[in-house]
């Protein structure tokens, strides 16, 4: 076997001793090296990974397989990893080495997963194309002239190219779901609080949520099991118990929110309509529903996320860690130049936007109003879930755009508007799954399933059933097969 296998296949092969962890991890390393042009990784941990794999092989031989023992995994470079640098794809943190593991990293490590490296991303997770990374853009394995999406673009590209069978991501306004759609892989944004934020570099604290990324919905379930759970070190962590695994899911009422389909082009609408047919064939009923405040989600998101970002990023002062300007004239000059040299232009845009919306005279008109409209957006979902069990929407308005197409012009809001289908569930804190549902001109198209709070089991079960009916998730880019 090769690492093009799924996470479940890799785990099963290790359990059956059909392959060793050293072989699987070694194979990942060869593929990562052969795919350097994708720029999916910021840091590769070859020696540490091979040493961990050898220890895992010893443990499997001695005590048998457990958890994710010996399974390779890549972490988005936003998760703190003890002893391995965590850059957040920013010059600000280029040399930052965390003295502790994020809870997600610690839990996956405890389950036996072997970290092979840290994946590239948009700087501080601020971007939808992976082009804001200090380490350069990531290429989409389906077409290297196109973006992989963002901000978890490195994780998505690494999975699509078969470099790893599992990866972590984070999602503030769509950063797991949108790159999953652009790269033809599966990604889950859990309910806000399901996965600990401890040790995840903060962007927008009321929205940030870590989650699993993999090739299939079944793999996401396996990975989530080893990421989730209450964490006393994160005060927003939910004490919801483990995600259940109901053996049989009943026929569901699937809501199709009309606001999400109104402006959809044929290239994405076609595969989505076929997905509706597949769900009906599986015995589910599809209904038209309305989420009337959808059009205001992008404006609200860019107020809330930017305000929280401007606060969170005020910690970077050039004193305790991070980039420090040379020969500062005084303390103010040290702060100002360290931050101006350390942050890229998109991060500065968001800090300034957030500072504006939080400043005296504008606070209530912007931040206060955004928080109130946020409640109305959430209420739309609560009302819809009074009628249906789950919502089916497109994950993105288009397939992956060309490099520079969204970021090369003079209007930054062109990129922001791409988040139109993913930010509403983020604002409401709801779980949402993104899985492949077809192709448009050779590029993957993704669908999104949004569920009520803590209904991850329902979303994953529906995703698993859909992936038993279809094979979109098994398609791989031709270039990846040649690696």
């Amino acid at each position: 076997m090769t690492t093009l296998g799924t996470l479940t296949e890799t785990r099963d092969a290790l359990a059956a001793k059909a392959v060793s962890s050293v072989e699987v991890v070694g194979d990942c390393m060869k593929r990562i090296d052969a795919a350097r042009h994708l720029n999916a990784f910021v840091t590769v941990c070859e020696q540490e990974a091979l040493a961990s794999a050898a220890r895992a092989d010893g443990a499997i031989a001695r005590d048998g397989m457990r958890g994710l023992l010996g399974v390779p995994i890549a972490h988005k470079d936003i998760f703190c990893t003890d002893g391995v640098r965590t850059t957040c794809a920013s010059r600000m943190l280029e040399n930052f080495v965390s003295p502790y593991d994020a809870t997600v990293v610690a839990r996956l490590r405890a389950a036996g997963a072997v970290m092979v490296g840290k994946t590239n991303m948009d700087e501080f997770a601020m971007g939808s194309t992976n082009e804001t990374s200090h380490f350069g853009p990531v290429a989409n394995p389906w077409d290297v002239g196109r973006v992989p999406g963002g901000s978890s673009g490195g994780s998505a590209a690494a999975l699509a190219a078969g470099l790893v069978p599992a990866a972590t991501g984070t999602d503030t306004g769509g950063s797991i779901r949108q790159p999953a759609a652009f790269c033809g892989i599966s990604g889950l944004k859990p309910t806000y609080g399901r996965v600990s934020r401890f040790g995840m570099v903060a962007f927008a604290s009321s929205l940030d949520q870590g989650g699993p990324m993999a090739r299939t919905a079944a793999d996401l379930r396996l990975l989530l099991q080893h990421m989730e759970g209450h964490d006393p070190r994160d005060s927003t962590s939910a004490d919801a118990g483990p995600t259940p695994h109901a053996p049989q899911q009943p026929a569901l009422n699937v809501g199709i929110p009309r606001e999400y389909w109104a402006d959809l082009g044929d290239d994405v609408a076609g595969p989505l309509e076929e997905a509706v047919v597949s769900l009906r064939r599986l015995g589910h009923r599809c209904h038209d529903v309305s989420l009337p405040h959808t059009a205001f989600a992008v404006p609200v998101y860019y107020v809330v996320a930017s305000a929280e970002a401007s606060t969170n990023l005020s910690r970077y002062d050039g004193v305790r860690y991070g980039h420090r300007a040379a020969e500062p004239a005084d303390l103010d000059d040290l702060y100002r130049r360290s931050r101006s040299e350390g942050f890229g232009v998109e991060v500065k845009r968001r800090i300034l936007t957030g500072t504006y919306t939080l400043s005296v005279g504008y606070y209530d008109a912007y931040y206060g109003q955004a928080q109130r409209v946020r409640r109305l957006i959430r209420q739309d979902f609560l009302d819809a879930f009074g009628q249906v069990d789950v919502l089916l929407t497109p994950a993105t308005p288009t397939p992956a755009p060309a490099l520079g197409a969204l970021t090369g012009g003079a209007d930054p809001t062109v990129m922001y508007k791409q988040d139109v289908y993913t930010v509403p569930a983020s604002l409401a804190g709801l779980p949402a799954l993104s899985i492949p549902c077809g192709f448009a001109d050779g590029l993957p198209v993704g669908l999104q399933l949004i569920g009520p709070y803590f209904a991850e089991d329902r979303l994953l079960a529906l995703g698993e059933a859909y992936q038993r009916e279809t094979d979109w998730h098994l398609r791989t880019p031709t270039a990846a097969e040649a690696l």
Binding site: N95, P99, R320, A329, D333, Q369, R374, L376
Partner: protein, 95 residues
């Protein structure tokens, strides 16, 4: 929507950021467009709607006031750009 000309100056000061003059005019244009985008939500009638700060309307739990973490100062300060004798060094602020 165009923001007042001096607003970028003020925001830069509040954010402890600086920009080159050519960046400043580009950024002013960007902010005008971003504020134009977010202003769309002003048309929503939110009279009587409570602000939503936590998506699940959660509140911050309080833990027992007990020491749970220990800090290895030397290890933490390995990330400090300039530290000596356990202290972070900054330009002189008191003459």
């Amino acid at each position: 929507m165009a923001l007042p000309g001096n607003v970028v100056e003020k925001l830069l000061r509040l954010s402890a950021l600086s920009l080159e003059p050519h960046e400043r005019s580009l950024l002013k244009g960007d902010l005008d467009k971003i504020v134009g985008l977010i202003d769309a939500m002003q048309s929503v009638d939110t009279h009587g709607v409570l602000p939503l700060a936590h998506p699940l309307d959660g509140t911050q739990p309080l833990r027992t006031d007990a020491v749970t973490e220990s800090v290895d100062r030397d290890r933490l300060q390995r990330n400090a750009p300039l530290a000596r004798d356990g202290l972070y060094l900054v330009p002189r602020v008191v003459e």
